[in-house]
Symmetry: C2
Subunit: 463 residues, 2 copies
């Protein structure tokens, strides 16, 4: 039996132990957006550092201006000839609100039956705690029964991915010497193509996330006494934001499409072969009418076109019943997914101009920036992607789909820019995992198969 086969068998035998460690991780409510959970974030970092120490890493929780980062090093085999992998993940999770829509407590992992066997329901089940567990489990198995971890490894697990990684660039710059010795970054925060088909992601959309705070009168007003004379900031906000897209779904922010390139014929042909069924994709969430830009293919809209989505809006009286008030303020959270060479900072400037040019002169609008990330296209012509294709084919009995990803993993661009490192994006989520929604889940089989794939990758790269 080869070393890899021994490791894979051990993984299969150790599923109960893996589940226990995974559940312990999920129980810590590491919500990075909510200051009340700051201590939970640190506790999660400490848990992971301990996990890594237990399998031979030199691991530390390192402070940043925000939530801490876990960094751990393993020297790999004694002969020193192996490549150096930098595993990246994030331990923070999205807020679990609205709590009332969860069928089980979001921070009490609950096993539910599904069409693919057991699934684990919890906030962070897949994003990204579950995906982090795939490579932690693989490393642990190599440590326990494979004769030691067969490559050099650095692990870097941050706690601010869900709020736009505000501290990570500074951290990478300050520790560039320590981190850039790696050969490639391995990121598991993406999806398979479907339950049976693995995937390697080759492009990620970028992001510009802002909050718009519109202010009119100096106080709330009676809508009878002032209606017809005083500006209503909610009407004004809907008027401004209602113009973000034209009737064809084209975003109207000035300069928005600078840097957006049409998809090449070759790329379009490759995506067409994937046979994506948008009707089913939308039907699974109760929709039937595609949104986004008119006249473009579904995968082009999802992977290669920018978006402009309002993620939240509030103002005035939102309680029971009626209150006849003209509010003083109205607010919205707005995020744009970006592609090609769109510049997030320029998009923010365009949003400011878009809003400002539509304001009466007695109203003000503040635009707070919550996150910026440039879009990324990942090189695929290298030994790491080649190895990943091979081992995914071995594990799944099927070659991986080479796909785009509509989401943003800003750190991939940071690794390239700051450390000069490319990334391998090999993840094990499914489209219906309800990431960022109530009842987020991870298929247990996706987690264990992911761990097996990660173990195979380590074996393959060991040579």
């Amino acid at each position: 039996m080869s070393r890899t086969e021994t490791v894979l068998r051990h993984l299969d035998e150790q599923e109960a132990q893996l589940r226990q460690r995974y559940f312990e991780l999920l129980r810590i409510p590491s919500v990075s957006a909510q200051p009340a959970h700051a201590a939970d974030c640190r506790r999660t970092a400490e848990f992971l550092a301990a996990e890594l120490s237990a399998i031979g890493f030199e691991a530390r929780v390192r402070d940043t201006a925000g939530h801490p980062v876990v960094v751990a090093h393993h020297p790999g085999p004694a002969d020193g000839a192996a490549p150096h992998l930098l595993y990246y993940g994030h331990y923070d999770v999205q807020p679990a609100e609205p709590f009332e829509l969860w069928t089980s407590p979001p921070f009490e992992p609950t096993v539910m039956p599904g069409p693919h066997g057991d699934r684990v329901v919890a906030r962070g089940a897949v994003d990204d705690k579950g995906q982090v567990m795939t490579w932690l489990a693989a490393l642990r198995a190599w440590h326990e029964v494979g004769g030691g971890i067969p490559v050099k490894v650095t692990a870097l697990i941050e706690g601010e991915e869900e709020v736009g990684s505000p501290s990570l660039d500074a951290f990478l710059k300050e520790n560039a010497g320590e981190l850039k010795v790696a050969d490639v970054v391995v990121v598991s925060d993406t999806n398979q193509w479907d339950f049976d088909t693995p995937a390697i992601s080759t492009r990620l959309r970028g992001m510009a996330y802002v909050q718009i705070d519109l202010r009119a009168a100096s106080r709330d007003l009676h809508s009878g006494m002032y209606g017809g004379s005083a500006r209503n900031p909610i009407n004004l906000l809907t008027r401004i934001l209602g113009e973000l897209q034209d009737e064809d779904g084209r975003v109207q922010i000035p300069g928005f499409y600078d840097g957006v390139e049409p998809v090449s014929n070759a790329q379009a042909a490759q995506w067409a072969e994937l046979g994506f069924d948008e009707a089913r994709f939308l039907g699974d969430v109760g929709l039937s009418v595609p949104a986004g830009e008119r006249g473009l293919g579904a995968l082009e809209r999802l992977w290669a076109r920018p978006t402009c989505d309002l993620n939240g809006i509030w103002g005035g009286y939102t309680g029971d019943g009626s209150k006849t008030v003209i509010a003083a303020e109205a607010h919205a959270k707005l995020s744009c997914r970006l592609v090609g060479s769109q510049d997030p900072a320029k998009v923010v400037a365009g949003i400011k101009e878009f809003v400002q040019s539509r304001l009466p002169k007695d109203c003000t609008a503040e635009v707070q920036v919550f996150g910026l990330a440039a879009p990324v296209v990942v090189p695929v012509e290298n030994r790491f992607v080649a190895a990943a294709k091979e081992i995914l084919t071995e594990e799944f009995g099927k070659a991986p789909a080479m796909i785009g990803c509509g989401g943003s993993i800003p750190v991939v661009e940071s690794f390239r820019r700051i450390l000069g490192l490319d990334s391998l994006l090999m993840g094990f989520g499914l489209d219906d995992d309800q990431v960022h929604s109530p009842n987020e889940k991870f298929e247990w089989r996706c987690l264990t198969r992911g761990a097996r794939a990660q173990a195979r990758l380590l074996g393959k790269l060991a040579g």
Copy 2:
């Protein structure tokens, strides 16, 4: 000394006692919109019934489908020749939210110094508890030192005005025999023209208040995974509501202006004489650009034109920081002030059509109706208005302004329709009383002068 003079002197001497009773009333948080305050509403009704019983009324708290109504009767002088006044008021108040903007607790009346002397800051200080106290104090003074209340009186104080008086029409119908024996309704829920100038209101805008609940996907979605394919209900809601007005401020709801008449030249001339200063009116609340329909005078927009104001909006993530979610739902509260012969039910039908016609076929919109009230024009050629003009001139040293009112007092239309009674609208609020806002206040001098004016009216009508 005439009986009226004796009563007025007594009112001046009893200010401390009046303030004590008034504060006791303000301390009960009778927020009709919030189910948690139902018991407080009943407690307020009981307090007022006791007040009326103490001055010779036969008073009872009467149940309705919602909050109870206080009805009290006083037979007036023994000879029975006096007219019969029906005093109307409401004991319920608007929600006090947002609490954090109050400089003192909303249900702990607090005396603050102001340019016109003491003012009382509390939710309901003026609307309508303070205004109700003006006529309660006058009746009490006549009872105590005037040789008895000199006219026949029915008092009717409801507890659902701030939520659109849903139970009142039924109550008036069921008790029409008991109530229609009055000659006129006296309503104190309106404003003076300014601190020095009294006013009688001659028109009230009507109201249609709805909540729009827009639903798209069956659950919240990840904006990266679905953005560009799935409908965003917040973008959709802003797009729909952003079209409510055109660039000239004209409301675009189908059939909206049916029944809206231009203001007559005579009316326009009378209003022009009032010398209303819109720049100052708006400047007092930090605004400088008139809103509403372009090209119309300020008082016409405030008193004789309909409006369409969003009173609240919410959807998606509204907490700290960022969450990249495409929400499943988005909501808004919308109210229209109505004039002339606009039909509130037709306006609601127009809103439904306006929203429905703009929906993609996989989204739904529910329109909940929270309140309907027809607009009112009050007859002014009668002995009650004539008497009010006289006594207001005596009390203020200045004739009252005959004004419109942008707000709605739906019950005025109900009294006309159900009981065949006209109303006299004589109120003592000021435009800067922050009605429905944090730090609502009532000038102590407005309350005491209001009580004196009410006492004079009783004396005048006694003959």
